[in-house]
Amino acid sequence: MVIYYVNRITVLSNRIDNAWSQIDVQLKKRADLVPNLVNTVKGYMEHEKDAIRMVTKARERMLGASDMKERMKAEGELSTALKTIFALAENYPALRASENFRLLQEQLDGIESKIAYARQFYNDSVLTFNNTISTIPGSWLAGLIGKGMPREYFAIAEEERRPVEVKF
C-alpha cells in the first residue's frame, strides 16, 4: 500500500516533467519557424515593421528566458504577436496567395493548437498530482520523499485571452 502510493506520487510527478518537456518541444518548433515567417512576410508587409519587430523580439525573449515563469510570459507574447501578423496579412492579397505563407500559417496554427493541448495535459497532470498529495494517504507520504509541494498550473496570460486588436 505504502509502496503503491510512493510509486504513484513519483509517476505523477514525472508525468508533469514530461508534460512540460512536451510544451517545450512545441515552443522550440515554433521558435524555429518564426525567422522563416519573418523573411516571407518582410517583402510584402512594408508598412508593418512594428508588428514584425514585435514577433522577433518576443521570440528572442522566449529563447533567452531562464526560468519557466519568464518563458511562459514570453510564450504568450509571441502568440499574440503572431496572431497580429496573421490578422494584418488579411490586407495583403499577394502575401495570402503565396504558397510559402500558406504552408507556414498552417504549420504555426497546428503548433498553436498542440501547445494548447500540451498545456491542457500539463494542467491535468498537475491537478492529479496535487489531488494525490493533498489527500490521505498521499499527504502523509509525499513529504517523506521530498515531493510535498503542490505544483504550479500553467496559467494563460491575461493579454492572450483578449482578441487581437488590429489598427488600420
Binding site: 508525468r15 512536451q22 497546428g110 498542440k114 500540451a118 491542457q120 495535459f121 491537478l127
Partner: protein
C-alpha cells in the same frame, strides 16, 4: 474523479487482457482435445500438445502483429502528411493532450465514414480513418472522432479488442471443425460404440453451436461499454462535446452500413461498419442516437 476512472479502466483492461489470453488458450486447447478424442483417441495426447503449441503461437502472433492484419484487411494505406496535414495535426495534438506517443496514421478509401485504432499498447498503435470521414467532417468534428480513437489507445482498449478478435476468429474456426468432425464421427460406426464417446460428442456439438454465440455476445457487451467510455474520454481531451455529437449526426446520415469487414474486427470501429438484423442482440456499438443524446447532455 474522471481521472481516477480512466486509471481504473486502464488497469481493468490490462488485467482482463491477461485473463482473456489465458481463457483463449485453455478453452481452445480443451476444444481441440475433445475433437481429437472423438476422431483419434489413440493420439489425443499428441494432439493436445500440438494444439497447445499452435494456439500459443497463433495468439502470440496476433497479439504482436494483429494490427498489421487488421490494417491490411481494411486496405489501409499510410497517410500522405502533406496532403492530410489537418488529420496529422489533429492526431498529433490529441495524443499530446492524452500524454501518449503519436500513433501511426492510416487512410482507408471508402464511401462510408468510419475510423478505428489498433495495436498492442500506446507505443505500438495505429489510427485509421476513411476518406469519406475526412471529406465530410470539419476540424472540431474530426478532432472529436480522433479523440475517441486516441482514448481507445490510452485506455488499452486496443489490446483487449485485438485479443477479442483473435478469440472470435479462432472460435469460429474450431466450431466449424467440431461440426465437421461430428458429421464424420457418425459415419465411423465402430467409434460410436466406444464408451463415453456419445457424451463427448454431445458436449462437442453443444460447444460448436453455442461457443460462437456466447463469444459474440461477450464481444458485443464489452465493446458497447468501451464505446461510451471512449466518447466521454474524447470530450475530456477536446473539451467540446458538440464536435463529436455533430460528427455522429453526419455519420448517421451518410453511412449505409455497407463497409465489408469481418465480424471478428467490427467491434474495433468508431461506428458499426455492418448493420444486420441481429443488431439488437449482438450490436458491438450502442445506437448512434443514444451516443449523441449522452454527448449533448454533458
Amino acid at each position: 474523479m474522471e481521472r481516477v476512472s480512466f486509471f481504473d479502466q486502464m488497469a481493468k483492461n490490462k488485467r482482463n487482457s491477461i485473463l482473456l489470453a489465458f481463457f483463449i488458450f485453455l478453452t481452445l486447447t480443451a476444444l481441440v482435445y475433445v475433437v481429437s478424442l472423438i476422431l483419434v483417441p489413440e493420439l489425443s495426447l499428441l494432439f493436445l500438445v500440438i494444439a497447445g503449441v499452435v494456439v500459443a503461437v497463433y495468439a502470440y502472433g496476433s497479439y504482436n502483429y494483429g494490427d498489421r492484419v487488421v490494417l491490411g484487411a481494411t486496405n489501409a494505406r499510410p497517410v500522405d502528411e502533406r496532403e492530410q496535414i489537418y488529420l496529422v495535426n489533429a492526431v498529433e495534438g490529441l495524443s499530446i493532450a492524452a500524454g501518449i506517443p503519436k500513433p501511426k496514421v492510416y487512410v482507408i478509401d471508402s464511401n462510408e465514414m468510419n475510423a478505428f485504432a489498433t495495436g498492442k499498447d500506446p507505443e505500438h498503435a495505429s489510427v485509421a480513418v476513411t476518406t469519406a470521414l475526412l471529406r465530410n467532417l470539419d476540424r472540431s468534428e474530426l478532432e472529436g472522432v480522433i479523440g475517441h480513437e486516441i482514448s481507445h489507445i490510452r485506455n488499452y482498449d486496443i489490446r483487449f479488442a485485438t485479443l477479442v478478435s483473435v478469440l472470435v476468429g479462432l472460435v469460429a474456426i474450431i466450431s466449424d471443425m467440431l461440426l465437421r468432425s461430428w458429421r464424420y464421427g457418425i459415419r465411423g460406426e465402430e467409434r460410436e460404440e466406444r464408451e463415453g464417446l456419445g457424451f463427448l460428442v454431445l458436449i462437442g456439438f453443444l460447444l460448436a453451436v453455442f461457443a460462437p454465440l456466447v463469444v459474440r455476445f461477450v464481444q458485443a457487451a464489452i465493446s458497447r461499454e468501451h464505446e461510451f467510455l471512449a466518447d466521454a474520454s474524447s470530450v475530456q481531451l477536446t473539451r467540446y462535446p458538440e464536435g463529436l455529437a455533430s460528427a455522429l449526426e453526419k455519420i448517421m446520415k451518410v453511412n449505409r452500413g455497407e463497409m465489408r469487414v469481418s465480424e471478428a474486427v467490427s467491434h474495433m470501429f468508431f461506428v458499426d461498419p455492418n448493420r444486420s438484423p441481429l443488431d439488437e442482440l449482438f450490436a458491438t456499438h450502442p445506437p448512434i442516437e443514444e451516443r449523441i443524446r449522452i454527448l449533448r447532455s454533458m
